[in-house]
């Protein structure tokens, strides 16, 4: 190890430790300042005053996504962070590989859409509802239904081996998508459900807060994320969290030590699903329109990539990962615009779309491989897992 890397590691360690060594009031103050900064992120002025002028031509602001609405990008980051936090409970804590996680997002989104849209078939055809419900009222129902579907999916499948579980959950997400696409009775297939309700609230001048402008949605999702983090931490530092980690580490030993493994695996599934459903209901509250095209497999994989790039089992990692998988392609695109990166390349008579947003699955797919090879613990790892994976590498590799 060179002295430089040692120094670097020491510096990193210092940052973490220095924060923890600060007196509690100072820590709280630092957190408050940080959170306030987070709320300011969508404001353009924030970037204009960042203070590190990088001369890159007019119109460019460091870290700002000029190609698309910054608040919109941040909102999208927000619900992906929520998804990543949910999958982190399932995969990071309990060690269950759920490849169909986006299915729960779909359940949440559809629940909200069905109950809040005046054009929902529940109202127009079946008369189950007299009038659309307010958005806020439907969120708990969306969460509950997502949880229920998590339990229904987990009940028969959680007894399966890890790799079978992966396939079955993948199949589940696909079934949800096919059902949504093919049937006309309720979900309306590709035509979807329009006029989905928005969150409540008006500005002092009587204008609704949640309309086309993205910033309030970002604030809402940010608030929700902060709440969810607290709740997940409560779980992680309790009997429940210990049971999850024990199951992940050695399921048989955990059971013999009295851990009701099936029950806690089911809980992990249900909690993850609930967070996924919550994310879906937030998204639907903004999207206005929900149809089956939203729920393609790519999204499940993107969430998986987020959790693993960030570092499974670490809340910070899930947040970082969820942020990066959305923000990075958007930001690269704005940088590309400045530098004149082409959107298309012509090879013969084929036009290849090379914009960062369309190539992001190639990039993240490749990144998954690279990260798994060189940094399997993720970018912001849980300290323990990092140690585990490092030690495994040192152990004798199988004979070839």
């Amino acid at each position: 190890m060179t002295t430089e890397t040692v120094k670097k590691q020491r510096w990193k360690l210092n940052l973490r430790d220095r924060f923890q060594d600060m007196p509690k009031p100072a820590r709280i103050a630092a957190m408050v300042v940080f959170v306030v900064l987070l709320y300011l992120l969508p404001t353009k002025a924030f970037y204009e005053n960042l203070g590190f002028p990088i001369p890159m031509g007019s119109g460019y602001l460091p870290l700002y996504t000029t190609g698309s609405d910054m608040a919109g990008v941040l909102f999208q980051c927000g619900y992906y962070i929520l998804l990543a936090l949910g999958l982190n409970v399932v995969l990071g804590y309990a060690g269950l590989l759920d490849l169909g996680f986006f299915g729960f997002f779909a359940v949440g989104a559809y629940t909200v859409a069905l109950l809040t849209s005046p054009e929902s078939k529940l109202i127009t055809e079946y008369n189950w509802l007299e009038s659309p419900w307010p958005w806020l009222l439907t969120v708990p129902i969306a969460i509950a239904l997502a949880m229920l579907s998590g339990v229904l999916l987990g009940w028969p499948t959680l007894r399966l081996r890890g790799d079978y579980l992966a396939i079955v959950t993948l199949g589940f997400a696909e079934i949800i998508r096919i059902v949504a696409k093919n049937q006309d009775w309720i979900l309306n297939g590709d035509r979807g459900i329009p006029s989905v309700g928005h969150p409540p609230g008006t500005w002092p001048d009587g204008e609704p807060i949640f309309e086309l402008e993205f910033t309030p949605y970002y604030w809402l999702v940010l608030t929700v994320i902060i709440g969810v983090i607290f709740l997940i931490r409560n779980l992680a530092n309790s009997r429940v969290g210990r049971a999850w980690v024990a199951i992940r580490e050695d399921e048989d030993a955990a059971e013999l030590m009295g851990v009701p493994t099936f029950k806690f695996k089911l809980w992990a599934f249900a909690i993850g699903a609930a967070i996924g459903g919550l994310s879906g209901s937030l998204w639907a509250g903004q999207a206005n329109f929900v149809n089956s095209a939203t729920f393609s497999l790519e999204n499940s994989i993107l969430v998986l990539a987020a959790v693993l790039l960030g570092g499974a089992g670490s809340i910070g990692g899930a947040i970082l990962g969820g942020f990066l998988v959305i923000y990075l392609p958007e930001w690269l695109r704005s940088v590309g615009d400045v530098f004149g990166w082409p959107t298309q390349v012509q090879v013969g008579n084929i036009h290849i779309d090379v914009s960062p947003t369309s190539l992001r699955f190639v990039i993240f797919g490749a990144l998954l491989i690279v990260v798994m090879i060189y940094r399997p613990q993720g970018l912001w790892p849980n300290r323990r897992r990092a140690a585990e994976l490092k030690d495994r590498q040192k152990e004798v590799a199988p004979v070839e």
Binding site: N234, L235, V240, D250, A253, G258, R384
Partner: protein
């Protein structure tokens, strides 16, 4: 001796895997408060017997009763809750948890905090956390690894890992503690310390079942011994009785020592 209460009854247990008979009508009883040694040469069926008792395998024939209740068919975590705890021949701690957390998983066997309580940090959560933590620290010092409570289990020395496993098992508050070759890989000094620990555990009111093939260790600590060979019980009695039993001598000495 007949006055004593039976804690665990292994009643004519036979266990077959395909054509292999791993246990053949094994029959013995474990009484409260004693240390019983289960010995036998390698491959005699000790660990299999152990696994049948803790619910890992279902006996093909016969019954295993713990505190008068049938064990077979019960879920493994329920058996633990009934008061039977075990360690493993090849250590199976949760390597990425701290020593303290490992023991806490054991104490959790009798806690009832679940998701809602933990999520909302209800008083029950705090109460159980406090009590469990106190108990876990107590156990760590009981087995003699007080200073290592915040170290990851994987970073403990081999001997400390064995001790931690015992602490974790004791944390489930067992009336019967089953130790599967706890002295494997120990040097003589460590073995002596282990003997003391086992006696201390018995004196604290826990019945101990000790699986071991180190005869000397077993002789020094057990009240009674059951000897298995090729899945059958060939002898049972006090250490002296067993030592003088010709069948046992044949089993251990009659077969040329491979080592």
């Amino acid at each position: 001796m007949s006055e004593r209460k039976a804690l665990l009854e292994v009643d004519n247990v036979t266990l077959r895997f395909g054509g292999v008979v791993a246990l053949n009508q094994v029959d013995f009883t474990l009484y409260e408060g004693e240390i019983l040694g289960l010995i036998g040469p390698n491959g005699a069926g000790k660990t299999t017997c152990f696994n049948a008792m803790t619910g890992v395998y279902l006996p093909t024939e016969g019954q295993i009763r713990f505190k008068g209740e049938q064990v077979s068919g019960k879920k493994r975590n329920q058996i633990t809750k009934m008061g039977m705890a075990r360690t493993f021949q090849n250590i199976r701690l949760f390597p990425e948890m701290t020593a303290l957390e490992n023991v806490l998983v054991g104490t959790d066997a009798h806690n009832t905090t679940s998701v809602p309580t933990a999520l909302l940090r209800l008083p029950k959560h705090w109460r159980e956390e406090r009590q469990s933590k106190a108990r876990a620290l107590e156990l760590l010092s009981f087995v003699g690894i007080t200073g290592r409570s915040d170290d990851l289990a994987r970073n403990l020395s081999y001997g400390d890992q064995r001790r931690l496993e015992i602490a974790r098992a004791l944390a489930t508050n067992p009336s019967l503690l089953c130790l599967d070759e706890p002295a494997a890989g120990f040097n003589p000094a460590e073995k002596v310390a282990l003997l003391e620990l086992i006696k201390k555990i018995r004196d604290s009111g826990v019945t101990v079942l000790l699986i071991e093939h180190d005869m000397r260790l077993v002789m020094g600590v057990t009240d009674r011994i059951v000897v298995l060979e090729f899945g059958r019980k060939i002898a049972e009695g006090t250490p002296e009785e067993v030592r003088d039993n010709p069948k046992v001598v044949a089993a251990y000495l009659g077969v040329p020592d491979a080592a």
